[in-house]
Symmetry: C2
Subunit: 344 residues, 2 copies
């Protein structure tokens, strides 16, 4: 009798299913563990305030390419993408830890650049760097950031609170970060083939900024507090709008529709998409890395958001049986599908 | 005029100096950031309880060698080394996050093994896995663990509270993890040269266990609570006794002496050191990875520790001008020097 060892490739599962599969047998044991895996951040109950914790791993060659990402921008972005997860809980980030694994190819001066970006993010978003770990790697650079935030128990917003009839809203605009990446990748290819040619980035300031130095939506959280609005569900848009709508639908047990014509796509993004022969709405739905917020509100709060700065109403929550759909400008209905990240 | 770009190699600074150098310009902004960089863990003030946070990065090829470290043990160890940092603050770990970067060489079954070890550690130490991130890497496996604990403000123990006259104590015994590693490395070399030869690990159960599946000293923290003892300073022994004594001396602005004859080294450790032509006390001072606790107590608390289980009195805190020294069995006095880790 042969004992065959089963081998399942990581790609067979995909990222979300993999995490679910690996972490399903971890029941929470501590009373203070108010929320575990499955939202933008974990929540720890401290009696009065809740502590919110989120963590991200950025790997050279997978998440960033140092041939066009300045280290200072990388440090900045590594911090703010974590802060985005804390804001997406309707909480305020307060502390971060930063761990690095890096090869000897990096000099102290290179690390100073990276930390200059980390410091700039800490200053702008008023968070404290309180810890970390630094070690070597055999190849490249890896950054692990953990953000810790604070929120009030009855104001934290999870993914699972949306109900039929709720209004679906987004901050800012979508597709820019993805198209910024396309421009940077194109110019890198041209440079590799014709080293004398200067990169042509003119006219792409906005989308390159969205890709290299994104800002995250603390201002939306501030507007909510001012208006005494607590969204019913919220998530940050890191993997594209479609993926995030599906996350809310799954967690809340609801359906949703998105009106294509209401999704905010800037003119520069729209034009660049066409230049690359891409469909602009596809860039918004599947592009990723925009770090805007997607949230739902009770219909009674509609007047509160209607005049908020940089917030758009893009759809509605429906019954689960209706699924998650896109109502196109042409009057058609498409099922939303998640691309997510396919790393492996 | 040429603009010369300065390049300082990471090795020119060393790990501790590098962290200090990079993080010196990060003043704490939030009232809740009770303790930032420079102790076993950061401390966040939540009004009633304090949240204690520690994070570690483990890199394949640097911190572990999968040719002799089973993935289940690796998962277990990755968790407990972080818990050790929380205990070293006299706090109780409650939650962890685990982030992984891994190449496609790993199968889902391999990850299941890793998570089985993580789960075992969570169960034994009663902590909850509440988050993480999973991504791909171009080479090998990298594990980033962050542990979150809870403590009472007036009972947390930092590195900086030792004062002249305090008694220096340690838990357990030292040198075992380092010698366990030597045995595993030796057997790996023999295997590589003579693939037919079975590894000879007999008689080394204890030290191999210390290396592959260390346990950390929650029991010491429990004994402290029971005896109503709050150490004046504490640190976990991850880089060897010498390095940790020096950390306490530097943070507290004191000197210390360690009595060689009082440092606990098990017979198996002692004999294995001699077999490898190593000085046993050097293995204890510089070996690392023992994850015991080093702590200091006020002399008035001496009777409390004298009969505690598995705790030894190994020296005394002195004035800073006396430096940190080892009093050898032969009556000589040596300056303690830190090896720490030289990764780069």
């Amino acid at each position: 009798m042969s004992t065959e060892i089963k081998r399942t490739e990581l790609n067979d599962l995909g990222e979300f299913a993999l995490i679910e599969h690996l972490t399903k047998n971890f029941p929470l044991q501590n009373k203070s563990s108010a929320k575990g895996i499955g939202d933008d951040a974990a929540v720890i109950d401290n009696g009065n305030f809740q502590t919110v914790i989120s963590t991200d791993l950025l790997v050279e060659g997978i998440h960033f390419d140092l041939s066009y990402v300045p280290l200072k921008h990388l440090g900045y972005k590594a911090v703010v993408v974590n802060l985005s997860d804390i804001y997406a809980m309707n909480a305020i980030p307060k502390q971060i830890t930063v761990s690095l694994a890096l090869s000897s190819r990096f000099s102290v001066e290179a690390l100073e650049e990276l930390y200059a970006g980390i410091r700039q993010a800490c200053e702008f978003y008023q968070v404290d760097l309180v810890g970390g770990d630094t070690t070597s790697s055999l190849t490249g650079l890896l950054i692990s950031v953990t953000a810790v935030g604070q929120g009030e128990a009855d104001k934290l917003v999870y993914r699972n609170g949306a109900k039929p009839g709720d209004i679906l809203c987004m901050t800012g605009d979508l597709g820019g970060a993805y198209l910024g990446l396309q421009v940077l990748e194109r110019e890198k290819q041209i440079y590799l083939e014709h080293p004398g040619v200067q990169p042509e980035l003119k006219g792409h300031d906005y989308i390159i900024g969205k890709q290299l130095k994104p800002e995250v939506r603390y201002d939306a959280i501030e507007q909510f507090a001012k208006a005494e609005l607590v969204p019913t569900a919220m998530i940050d848009i890191s993997d594209g709008l479609a993926s995030e709508v599906l996350h809310i639908c799954k967690a809340s047990g609801v359906g949703a529709f998105v009106e294509e014509g209401h999704v905010i796509i800037k003119q520069e993004v729209f034009q660049t998409a066409l230049d690359f022969r891409l469909d602009p709405i596809t860039c918004a739905l599947s592009g990723g890395e925009d770090y805007e917020l997607l949230f739902t509100i009770d219909i009674k709060d509609l007047e509160k958001v209607r005049f908020m700065n940089d917030i758009a109403i893009i759809g509605e929550i429906t019954d689960a049986k209706d699924g998650a759909t896109l109502h196109t400008k042409g009057g058609k209905i498409h099922q939303l599908t998640a691309q997510g990240w396919k790393h492996f």
